[in-house]
């Protein structure tokens, strides 16, 4: 089990080590608890940097692999086996880095938060944070479908409790909704995973990919009447739906505003920063990896959903009065770009999308931090209660502007690099093309519309002091801009600084980040192109898209079978 132990496993289980230590700390020793949690996340971060150092970007294969068999059942001559199999390629590594980068920020930001004054239970909170980190890292590094599914489901539990216990007023509704929606998708994915495992005889992803990209591969298994095309489509959709809800892709996004708005700030940061990327990562890794043919066939439809999401998300975001909801809906728009890039199915699109996953984590995570900082002072998320904050807090206002601009895609900051390469990819894509790009680019205008309106309402205009200042402190300075100060706490500043650094770093020198994933995505794109060439040759025969006719045919053949 410990033979061939790799850095990946170490990074993956570091949060668990911290969690175990945390279990033995007295719940009353809050200082020890939070510092243990923070130290754990920082150590994990440093360890993941070590992964980056050890990573060889010229190698497209999995690196820092650790593998051993844990399930091996031989029934009726066929062997069902599942491995503990972890490792990273460029794609995984970037998302691992994103996770380990966001987590210390989220933990640090939680220090001394109001939520503990109201709800207490700090120990439990930090336990869930570490559990969440472990589960998210697991999703990104695991190469076996069964273990992947377990990690995937485990991410739900801590998030469910983070929202449900430390959330806002409608936390229960939001938590349950979050749980139900994600679960609904997961069930279908589970069925698809089982089928894939059965059809290929393995749950190990690289092995599956090798099998399904072979020229004569067929999804048909004995005793099931459906054709390979239909089965492939259904399996593709099984995975797709789970990821689409998680991303979320329009129209599966209606859990998102609740979860985002009700979650405590750190929860929102993790949700936007990392959890949503489980979905986009899954699309790249599983949908594109296992189902290249179906990806090509469905790309035009998914592209349409992505473009609708870009415009719709931005438009709805613009009409919000609740600042946190505004940021939440902006995610729908931004992730529309990511999905568009993924289903452009070319190097520009996928690399841009992957970088944009990181960018969105940083920018939107940053926006949620800003909202959280304001909420702790104003105790409202209604933008009408804010105003003129830039005047009393010039540096904070400037930081907010930088993060908003990064989210808006200002060139020179991180958001632009991803968005631009995605749109570049979608124009050159053989499955999308000019009109997708034309409409998606409208999102660039609309991002400016809602973000600048938000910035103006919150940070410009006449200064409005927090309303509760009337009740609490009766000092004369409470209401006037002269005496008022946001009094940023040290941990709030410490959480924002790395975000701003990354905004500039990725904006000005993204070459290093592209370099990390270059070979891995190139491999993926080449696999897809090989399949595409083959499919185009066979195109005359059948359409891979699941049409009404083929569904009816499937049902009727199934009935006949009985």
């Amino acid at each position: 089990m410990f033979e061939g132990l790799s850095l990946t496993t170490i990074v993956l289980f570091l949060p668990m080590v911290g969690l175990s230590i945390l279990l033995f700390i007295n719940p009353k020793q809050t200082e020890n608890i939070k510092w243990t949690a923070f130290t754990t996340t920082i150590v994990t971060f440093l360890a993941s940097l070590l992964m980056w150092v050890n990573f060889d970007p010229s190698n497209p294969a999995l690196q820092m692999v650790h593998r051993f068999n844990w399930l091996n059942i031989s029934v009726g001559g066929s062997v069902i086996s599942s491995d503990y199999y972890v490792g990273v390629d460029g794609l995984s590594l970037l998302l691992v880095l994103l996770t380990t980068f966001i987590m210390p920020i989220a933990v640090l930001f939680s220090f001394g938060s109001d939520i503990f004054a109201e709800r207490g239970r700090e120990k439990l909170y930090y336990l869930f944070m570490l559990l969440l980190e472990w589960a998210m890292l697991g999703v990104f590094v695991v190469q076996d479908l069964i273990i992947f599914y377990i990690f995937w489901e485990v991410t739900l539990v801590p998030m469910y409790f983070l929202v449900g216990i430390w959330g806002g007023e409608q936390r229960i509704y939001a938590a349950v909704k979050f749980f139900l929606y994600t679960m609904a998708g997961s069930i279908l994915m589970l069925i698809a995973i089982l089928y894939v495992g059965n059809a290929t005889g393995t749950f190990v992803l690289p092995d599956i990919i090798t099998k399904v990209t072979a020229p004569d591969w067929t999804w048909q298994i004995e005793g099931v009447a459906a054709s390979s095309d239909v089965t492939g489509s259904l399996l593709f959709l099984g995975f797709f739906l789970a990821f689409a809800i998680k991303v979320p892709i329009f129209p599966f996004h209606s859990w998102l505003p609740d979860a985002h708005v009700q979650a405590p700030t750190a929860g929102s940061v993790i949700l936007a920063g990392v959890l949503l990327k489980l979905g986009t990562y899954g699309l790249v890794r599983f949908n594109l990896g296992i189902f290249p043919e179906e990806s090509i066939a469905y790309a035009p439809i998914i592209g349409v959903l992505a473009v609708i999401g870009i415009i719709y998300g931005a438009w709805v975001s613009y009409a919000q009065t609740d600042v946190k909801k505004l940021v939440a809906y902006s995610s729908v728009s931004h992730l529309g770009f990511v999905v568009l890039g993924i289903f452009a199915l070319n190097a520009q699109g996928i690399q841009g999308a992957t970088l944009q996953m990181v960018n969105h984590g940083i920018s939107t995570g940053g926006l949620f931090l800003l909202v959280g900082i304001l909420y702790e002072r104003y105790h409202t998320k209604d933008m009408a209660a804010y105003g003129g904050i830039w005047k009393v807090a010039p540096i904070f206002g400037g930081t907010a502007l930088v993060i908003s601009l990064s989210s808006m895609g200002l060139p020179g900051l991180n958001g632009f690099v991803g968005e631009f390469t995605i749109l570049l990819g979608s124009l050159g894509s053989s499955v999308l093309g000019f009109f997708y790009t034309l409409f998606a680019t409208l999102g660039v205008i609309m991002a400016a519309v809602y973000l600048l309106y938000m910035f103006q309402r919150v940070f410009m205009g006449e200064f409005k002091a927090p309303a509760h200042a009337h009740g609490h402190a009766h000092d004369a300075h409470g209401h006037s801009e002269e005496g008022f100060s946001l009094n940023l706490k040290w941990n709030e500043i410490a959480a924002l600084v790395p975000i701003v650094i990354m905004v500039f770093w990725i904006g000005l020198q993204p070459a290093g980040f592209f370099n990390v994933m270059d070979k891995a995505t190139n491999q993926l794109v080449q696999d897809i192109q090989t399949v595409q060439t083959r499919v185009e040759a066979e195109r005359a025969e059948t359409s891979a898209i699941l049409t009404w006719e083929s569904t009816v045919a499937l049902v009727s053949t199934a009935q006949q079978g009985e």
């Binding site: 439990l124 209606s254 200002l410 050159g428 894509s429 093309g433 600048l452």
Partner: protein
């Protein structure tokens, strides 16, 4: 004078203003006005000195261009090795760049100095200078970039500074502050519409050429002047091989193989470029976008290489070029305030006046014109697109002049004037008269900056006068910058409150007059020469080549020129002549030296600036010999429409001058003396002329552009947004869909499952899990409410899932 290291200083043009901005951003308030101002001015002046050095170098080498990589190994930006995509941080210094550098840093420095006086006493003084320097940085990035994407960084960066500076006084009390913030936001959004076009243009450029680079390192754009006896280059001429001049092969090879990431610099061309002519050193696909354009256009139509296949479109190269230029034009109409996207510029006058002068008159708004000139190779091969550009420019020139005649706000008149003059430049580009456009860009930067700074001086004076009066009446202190916080019906920018300022502010007056004559195009002021060249080019295109666009544009521009002279003289009458119409105007003092010295310098340049490019046969010709403007530009703007500007067109020049004088005379007869404003309601005299009244009122209402945009775009956009958010997203998807489909569905499945398995193993398992959780922490109760049933079902499904994972393989194969 000639030193090869000068072009290597280009990165400093970015770094120095960045440092200035950084210092003032973080320590501006602590440093105080004096130091803060000096830091800002020093950054600007240093940039100016570097620009002069670069200019001198280029003069010495007859305009041979250099390509310089970013220092310190920061040369690569967006880079994907597996597909060979590489967009570097890379500078290009050629003569267009050098001219822009001089304009931006020269006028910029004067305005920095002026702002030192104008912003005196403002609480955000340091921040103002930080933003000015930041603007300088982005503008210099824009003009020195060697690829479209890096240019776009500058393009958006100046837009950001525009946002910051238009809305600089967002903290004014009451509605004013909010209005300022709105104006700033409007500028960004309208410019984003332009970016939409520019981005699409760039995407098409990439998939057509595979690169964003203007020219690759080692590749030189240079055409011997003599090749072009008429306006348009033909494929045959291009093929003769003089289009692409390339340095010795060794150097270009080195440039290609070493890549651009290592921060080494590619050799500046030490020899005059036209001595080394050979384009066979480069494979066509390794050329920059412009070289490839020349190559592709030299191929016969229908050859396979010319078919471009992008994003489902399959087009001939010439059609693709048309699309590229048209999408680019969308970007230009926003940034350079052309129809239909000019609407942000008049509102942008909410910013402090030095900002209006620097960004919204002299430099930033000319970025679009600069881009078109930079892309002159594209334009040359897209005559249809150019015709559209010419018409857009000409109509904008006319419209801007027309609306300018009906405004009361001193800065709004100038704003519409800027719209109009930018129209002249864009029209010139559309005619193919790139040198004329560039020439007008330079002279306009000078005299329009002078006018804006003059108007700022006037506003400053009137404000002072107003507070002087106030101080006497109420015994207040004389801190005029409180005015920004004061709710006051008095508008120091309204020309109806002025009059007779010539006596109170003589320096401002005389500099204003100089710049007005330059703008109106009176001989021998700068504007005369540059405007005349545009008109002469239009004349040439129409009369000598029979192109109808030439006639149309010439006619429209002549009318626009008449409007120009008219509104300027109306303005001069209203501000400076007659009797003061308010106490404030009667008490306005002259501004300080910080402000008047830049005015005098600019006024002097408004007088003599045109002499850099005097055509043959005209007075003052030949003052600059080989360094004459068009000779200087020719290495970077290869396709020059030359003949009309080579020889002075006396008839046209006299005609245009006559029109200008006539318009001034006409305006004088209407507005002279105390006739500028009539009646107690203070109306324009034209409102009392029945035939002129509707025309004037339409101009006064700014042709209802803003109302139309509100009705057609803004209002529907807001309503649809509300509808989508409230009805579609919230009431339908969020509530209805959730309650009816998702929740009912779960309940149904839950009921179904709970019956057969009720007493079974699964129930026990669930209880067991629940028990475990309870042991884990009693906090679970916090989330157990009315939803507990749904929650339980969800967990149940989770358990079922896990069981299935373990069991199904057995069932399947068993």
């Amino acid at each position: 004078m000639h030193n090869e290291t000068y072009p290597q200083l280009v990165p400093l043009l970015i770094i120095i203003p960045a440092i200035g901005a950084f210092i003032n951003m973080f320590w501006g308030a602590k440093l105080g006005e004096r130091v803060s101002g000096y830091v800002g001015i020093a950054a600007s002046l240093l940039s100016f000195i570097i620009s002069v050095l670069i200019f001198s170098y280029l003069s010495a080498v007859h305009g041979a261009a250099s390509v310089i990589n970013a220092p310190l190994g920061l040369g690569s930006w967006i880079r994907m090795d597996s597909i060979g995509l590489n967009i570097p941080w890379q500078f290009r210094v050629d003569t267009i760049t050098a001219v822009m550098l001089l304009v931006v840093t020269g006028v910029g420095s004067l305005i920095h100095i002026y702002a030192r006086g104008y912003m005196h006493g403002d609480p955000k003084f340091g921040r103002f200078f930080a933003f000015l320097n930041l603007f300088l940085m982005f503008m210099l990035l824009l003009v020195t970039a060697n690829n479209f994407l890096m240019m776009f960084v500058g393009w958006e960066g100046v837009g950001l500074c525009s946002y910051l500076l238009i809305g600089f006084w967002w903290d004014k009390r009451g509605a004013t502050g909010w209005r300022n913030a709105n104006a700033a936001r409007k500028a960004v959004i309208v410019n984003r519409v332009g970016d939409f076009g520019l981005l699409l243009s760039m995407f098409l450029i990439f998939w057509t050429f595979g690169t964003f680079d203007y020219y690759k390192p080692g590749e030189v754009a240079n055409v011997p002047y003599t090749l072009y006896t008429n306006g348009y280059i033909t494929a045959e001429q291009a093929k003769k091989g003089d289009i692409l001049a390339v340095n010795p092969a060794a150097e270009s090879q080195a440039a290609e193989t070493h890549g651009d990431a290592h921060g080494e610099t590619h050799g500046a061309h030490s020899k005059p470029a036209r001595e080394t002519l050979d384009n066979s050193q480069f494979a066509p696909s390794r050329l920059g976008v412009f070289g490839q354009t020349e190559y592709l256009m030299s191929l016969p139509e229908g050859s396979p290489e010319r078919v471009i296949n992008v994003g489902g479109l399959e087009l001939d190269f010439s059609v693709m070029l048309f699309l590229i230029v048209i999408f680019m034009l969308v970007g230009v109409t926003a940034k350079s305030a052309q129809i239909p996207l000019f609407v942000w510029l008049p509102d942008a006058m909410a910013g402090p006046t030095p900002v209006s002068a620097l960004m919204h008159a002299a430099t930033m708004v000319t970025a679009g014109v600069f881009l078109l000139i930079r892309a002159n190779v594209f334009l040359d091969h897209a005559p249809e697109a150019r015709a559209i550009i010419a018409l857009v420019g000409a109509l904008t020139a006319l419209m801007g002049g027309y609306i300018g005649m009906g405004q009361w706000d001193v800065k709004r008149v100038l704003a519409y004037s800027t719209v109009s003059q930018l129209g002249f430049m864009v029209a010139a580009v559309g005619l193919g008269a790139y040198v004329a456009a560039m020439f007008h860009l330079v002279t306009h930067a000078i005299f329009k900056a002078c006018l804006f700074l003059g108007s700022g001086s006037v506003i400053h004076g009137v404000e002072h006068g107003h507070h002087h009066v106030h101080a006497h009446a109420h015994g207040h202190g004389d801190d005029h910058h409180d005015a920004h916080d004061e709710e006051d019906s008095f508008d120091p920018q309204d020309m109806r409150n002025m009059g007779g300022l010539a006596r109170r502010m003589p320096i401002t007056y005389w500099t204003y007059i100089f710049a007005t004559f330059a703008l109106a195009g009176l001989f021998p002021f700068a504007g005369f020469w540059s405007k005349d060249e545009i008109l002469a080019d239009a004349w040439h295109l129409g009369f000598d080549k029979g192109n109808p666009i030439g006639y149309i544009v010439l006619g429209i521009l002549l009318l626009a020129a008449a409007f120009t002279a008219f509104y300027m003289w109306r303005q001069v009458q209203m501000i400076f002549h007659g009797e003061p119409r308010s106490e404030a105007a009667a008490n306005a003092p002259e501004s300080t030296l910080w402000m008047t010295v830049p005015l005098m310098v600019l006024a002097f340049l408004s007088l003599v600036g045109g002499f850099i490019n005097v055509p043959k046969g005209a007075p003052f010709h030949g003052m600059f010999k080989d360094y004459e403007f068009k000779h200087f530009l020719e290495s970077a703007v290869p396709h020059v429409t030359v003949s009309p500007s080579l020889y002075f067109n006396w008839g046209l020049a006299l005609g245009a001058t006559f029109i200008a004088f006539a318009a001034i005379f006409f305006a004088h007869s209407i507005y002279a003396g105390n006739k500028a404003v009539r009646g107690t309601a203070r109306r324009d005299p034209l409102e009392f002329v029945p035939s002129a009244k509707p025309i004037w009122l339409l101009a006064n209402a700014r042709m209802h552009w803003d109302n139309i945009y509100f009705a057609v775009i803004e209002n529907p956009f807001n309503r649809i947004g509300k509808f989508l958010a409230d009805v579609v997203d919230w009431r339908f998807l969020h509530d209805y869909f959730h309650d009816v489909v998702i929740k009912k569905g779960y309940d149904g499945v839950g009921t179904l499952l709970s019956k057969p398995f009720d007493k079974g193993i699964i129930d026990g398992a669930v209880n067991g899990v629940a028990w475990l959780f309870k042991q884990f922490s009693s906090s679970l109760r916090l989330v157990q409410t009315g939803y507990v049933r749904v929650y339980a079902v969800a967990l149940l499904l989770g358990v079922v899932a896990v069981v299935v994972v373990m069991v199904l393989p057995l069932l399947q194969n068993g």
